[in-house]
């Protein structure tokens, strides 16, 4: 079974110099329960892809299927979680109030219990009753993860979840990832921190200038190179040389 399927996904943005493709003809299928790391340099189209997957942007061309449905379908939305790149919150709410808002939107049963559970999971319980404007970057990142986990999703979309965290924080988040993985949750995450990717991913996709360059297991991608980072740089160099 595949949880996430993309076929010929293309997104063009209108700019002053005509339409520019941020994502071109992307086709990918992620089997259920897999952790997929989506890698690419800055501006390669990772966020754009994720925005289409969660229904924030409409594809110019192509199809998306999440758990067999469309991202705009309410029933599908109940089953996925999304954490954007550097998530932004209502600053005058407390962390707990914000999660309460999200729990109300999901219309969850036993809201308070679930909120405490998730707060414990991301280790934010001690600051849950402070206003969000007083949070550090790491705490914001944890709250972002908490709101994505609140509805006990089957599929998780995370845009740069490890960004801006110290090594301790990264290791905490990775531990949460592994717990999610045990629960057979499908995780799709964007990153450019390659060391983290090879540890926790079952599958890796590499995107450059909007096109998919590679899609495989980390071990097979690394074959012939010293590590994933070298393999990544080589692959993108080669691809760009071919293109010009």
């Amino acid at each position: 079974m595949e949880s996430i399927v993309m076929k010929g996904l293309t997104k063009e943005y209108d700019t002053a110099s005509g339409p520019v493709a941020a994502v071109r003809d992307l086709s990918l299928a992620i089997p259920s329960g897999n952790v997929f790391g989506f890698l690419g340099p800055n501006g390669s189209g990772k966020t754009t892809t994720m925005k289409m997957l969660v229904g924030l942007a409409r594809p110019t061309k192509g199809e998306i299927s999440i758990l067999g449905g469309s991202p705009s379908d309410i029933e599908v939305r109940k089953q996925f979680g999304f954490m954007p790149e550097s998530p932004a919150f209502y600053l005058y709410l407390t962390g707990r109030e914000f999660l309460k808002l999200i729990a109300d939107i999901f219309d969850l049963a036993e809201k308070e219990r679930r909120i405490s559970e998730v707060l414990d999971e991301v280790e934010l319980s001690h600051s849950a009753d402070r206003q969000i404007r007083t949070y550090s970057k790491g705490m914001l990142q944890r709250l972002g993860l908490a709101q994505a986990l609140l509805n006990d999703p089957k599929v998780l979309f995370l845009d740069e979840p490890l960004d801006g965290l110290d090594p301790l924080g990264r290791s905490d988040i990775k531990r949460i990832f592994l717990r999610m993985k045990e629960k057979r949750i499908t995780i799709f995450f964007n990153s450019h921190i390659l060391a983290d990717v090879s540890e926790i991913c079952d599958l890796v996709g590499i995107i450059d200038q909007g096109s998919l360059v590679a899609f495989d297991t980390p071990s097979r991608l690394t074959k012939g190179s010293s590590d994933l980072e070298t393999a990544f740089v080589d692959m993108i160099r080669k691809k760009r040389a071919n293109r010009t």
Binding site: K51, V54, G55, L56, A57, R58, P71, I74, E75, R77, K78, F80, F82, P84, P87, A88, F89, Y90, Y92, L93, L101, I102, D104, I105, F106, D107, G144, Q147
Partner: protein, 256 residues
């Protein structure tokens, strides 16, 4: 559905109340109303009318201010700060977001209106001016309805453009909405059938906000009859639905 709308509404209400602009506006209105206390002996007919007129106008300006300026910030702020990234992908219909925002901000207007009306009534009571309470309440109900229309307009515009432009557009609509009579006079004076057609269409599409103005009546202690109240209510509901559908279409097409 109701629960989701309510969740958004409560959040919007809470946010506006944590906004300092709102409190400043409320304080200004209250000071203006309290100022009437010092106008001197107002039990004479003429001056009593002035206090009523003044007070009702202060409340009206406060309502319009909140609807136009805070309303214009509403959707824009969510997009600018990207809080919408956390809300839009949730299992919510776009109309639930619009309804929640509109209800939340309307609740803000209502709360502020209730507080300032209470202040006005206190002033009138202390000054011994009775007999205006019902007409004043009616007039305020009318202007509250007008504010709800302006809230919907500014939500619509704030999804399309920057908050400053949105406030400018909503203000323009507001001014035009109060000039329907002028527009009708222009139509009558126009010869070209094309121009006439365009203006006539505009006349019917643009809101006629003068319908919500009964301030000239109430200072004489009179008020409209049930039939005309019902007509205005119907007009309000139809126009609100029209604006709501437009705002929904705006948010439906929007990308983030």
């Amino acid at each position: 559905m109701i629960r989701r709308v309510l969740a958004i509404a409560i959040n919007t209400f809470r946010e506006t109340f944590r906004d300092r602009i709102l409190w400043s506006a409320l304080v200004v209105a209250l000071v203006i109303i309290a100022f009437s206390l010092f106008v001197g002996s107002i039990s004479l007919g003429q001056e009593a009318r002035m206090v009523v007129d003044f007070g009702v106008a202060a409340i009206y300006v406060l309502q319009i201010f909140i609807a136009i300026f805070i309303g214009s910030m509403l959707i824009y702020k969510e997009m600018e700060r990207k809080t919408f990234y956390l809300i839009i992908p949730k299992p919510l219909r776009r109309e639930e977001i619009i309804a929640g925002k509109c209800i939340g901000l309307s609740a803000t207007v209502l709360t502020v209106t209730a507080l300032s009306t209470l202040a006005l009534f206190t002033v009138l009571f202390v000054e011994g001016v009775h007999g205006f309470y019902l007409p004043i309440l009616l007039s305020i109900a009318y202007t509250t309805a007008e504010s709800v229309l302006l809230i919907l307009l500014s939500i619509l515009f704030s999804g399309l453009t920057s908050p400053i432009l949105s406030a400018v557009y909503t203000t323009a609509f507001y001014l035009i909405g109060h000039s329907s009579e002028t527009l009708r006079a222009i139509i009558a004076a126009t010869d070209s059938t094309f121009t006439k057609g365009v203006l006539q269409t505009a006349y019917y599409i643009l809101p006629n906000l003068e319908k919500f103005n009964i301030r000239n009546e109430i200072v004489y202690g009179t008020h409209p009859d049930v039939r005309s109240i019902a007509l205005v209510a119907i007009y309000f509901v139809c126009y609100a639905i029209f604006l709501f559908l437009l705002a929904r279409a705006m948010l439906e097409r929007k990308e983030f």
